[in-house]
Symmetry: C2
Subunit: 334 residues, 2 copies
């Protein structure tokens, strides 16, 4: 029987909205923190297939969400390309790249064998819900490589992009590699893939069109044509580029809370995912309940919608409130 | 003779676009840094009328911009309301408020006599260009009071707002006080006023409508009706709320670079101000010239436009490049 998530994406009749949450397996869970202690280094933790399978499954066991996203990190393919990636406690990732595009490795569908094994393991462990594979968007990964980590303004990335010396060849390579990276995940059994574009939000509207869309559009077309799975695109700064996205070959647009999602659902014929402000999880249950129900009642269609937050769950959020939220959405009849 | 800025706002014929820059008097200028040394504390510096007049005039003298914005800080009226405001070197402002709305002071048009004197001084010192008075938007000021300073996510503000215990009375008082604060500036001679809404960008689309717009709309209507000057509204996260703003009583919408300003100018009949990505100022002059001319050629109107950046000039920007930018815009014929 087809899953609720896939039914909703396809526009088939559903009784309730499917729900999963970005960063649903994370530090806010006691069980996650316990498993995390088994490996000192974050990347080794991601690469430990058994641990990563256990972590991926936690939200299904503890929250009973409607989809499992595999536990991994968007920088995994960057490291496989030969770039040094390190995670230090309490800091963001450190990415050390020498700037030479030509010496970066080309990936094939089996380059990330451990990621593919995590997918197979999660598929084998349960049949109830679909498994979401994922990768970072080409521009977001390029920005980590150029900045040397996260950045609050993409200052270096913008200069690199405008100068166009290595930009085009690096983006071309990232697109090639990410298609292979996702191909491996789909061959391993991923039912859906999600592309995370965390950093495009810092681009101007014109630069997004000139420098990101140029690569995203064919990237999405290749995923749809060659991999043939439902495709979700999550990006921050969602109101900026929504008009551009209408023409993308994505099935689901996953948006943050700054966009008029409800208005957009009326005019854009794609499935939507999102977009509750995650800060609501700091409120008490009465307020959460009130705001979430107000929100759900405004969703204008009975289908083609996946409940999610507008961004990931933060480490200091209360597990019980997250569970309360999931139950609330699951009990709401469309 | 009417100034280029006012002509452009009114839609009268102009030969070139007017230009001024947010934070045009600031640390990136040697002359600013020299004057800044004359006072240890930042707020005392803002309140020293002679110094503030000199600082306000620096961009006219050194860059020959088309408007002078008075040198001050958006937290000045907050301090006048009885809240402790401190600026520590290298940190953002610290705002200590006890949370009691009832004990906050009501302002009148002459509460900020030193601000009004700065306007009079700048008007007296030159007749060439209009003088812009300003204030922070009610929501942005409330967020400083509730957070105790700047915030990257407005976590406390959102909870305060959703609970609605003090929110409505504080917003009502802020609107009243800010109308008076601007009234003083207009009586002192301000030709234009700009309202800075730096933090509304963190609100969801629905929350902006429910909690910010509710107060902004009547605030703007009162400014227009009672003070009768051209009104500019600058807000970050510009793509999120542009549709809402169409119905505001503002003359000029000042936007950041994440919005399709050029497309919006075709559909929204207001003057626009903005929206160059300020990071371009880190590029070399060749690239600045290329990108700025590309940008100017796309402006679809010959008037009702004011060139500005999408945000303020950063302290580490190069004065010579800022001057190069101003000259470039001034030499472009519409």
């Amino acid at each position: 029987m087809e899953s609720l998530l896939l039914k909703s994406i396809k526009g088939e009749k559903i009784e309730r909205f499917p729900v999963w949450l970005m960063r649903q397996a994370g530090r806010y869970m006691k069980e996650y923190r316990e498993l995390r202690q088994k490996r000192e280094d974050f990347l080794s933790f991601c690469k430990d297939v058994d641990l990563a399978i256990k972590v991926s499954l936690l939200p299904l066991e503890l929250l009973e969400v409607d989809a499992v996203i595999i536990f991994s990190d968007i920088l995994v393919p960057v490291e496989l390309m030969g770039v040094r990636v390190e995670f230090k406690d309490g800091e963001g990732p450190s990415v050390v790249w020498d700037g030479v595009v030509e010496s970066l490795k080309k990936l094939s569908f089996n380059s990330a064998d451990f990621v593919n094994e995590i997918i197979m393991g999660v598929k084998k462990a349960q049949k109830e819900v679909p498994v979401i594979g994922f990768c970072g968007a080409p521009f977001t990964l390029l920005s980590y490589m150029v900045e040397g980590g996260g950045s609050k303004d993409l200052r270096k990335t913008k200069l690199y992009m405008w100068k166009e010396e290595g930009y085009n060849s690096l983006m071309t390579l990232l697109v090639e590699n990410l298609v292979e990276y996702l191909r491996g995940q789909v061959l391993a059994g991923a039912d859906v893939v999600q592309v995370f574009d965390t950093w495009a939000m810092h681009l101007s509207y014109e630069d997004y069109k000139d420098y990101a869309e140029t690569y995203l559009k064919p990237f999405f077309e290749r995923i749809k044509r060659e991999l043939n799975v439902p495709l979700i695109y999550f990006y921050r700064g969602s109101s900026s580029f929504l008009e551009v996205l209408k023409d993308f070959a994505v099935d689901v647009i996953s948006v943050d809370w700054t966009v008029d999602m409800i208005g957009s659902m009326r005019s854009i014929n794609k499935a939507f995912q999102g977009n509750l402000d995650p800060h609501l999880l700091y409120a008490d249950e009465g307020l959460i309940s009130q705001k979430v129900l107000e929100f759900l009642r405004c969703i204008p269609r009975k289908t083609k919608y996946i409940f999610n937050l507008g961004h990931g769950i933060a480490p200091d959020m209360d597990f019980h409130k997250v569970k309360f939220l999931v139950n609330l959405v699951k009990s709401y009849r469309v």
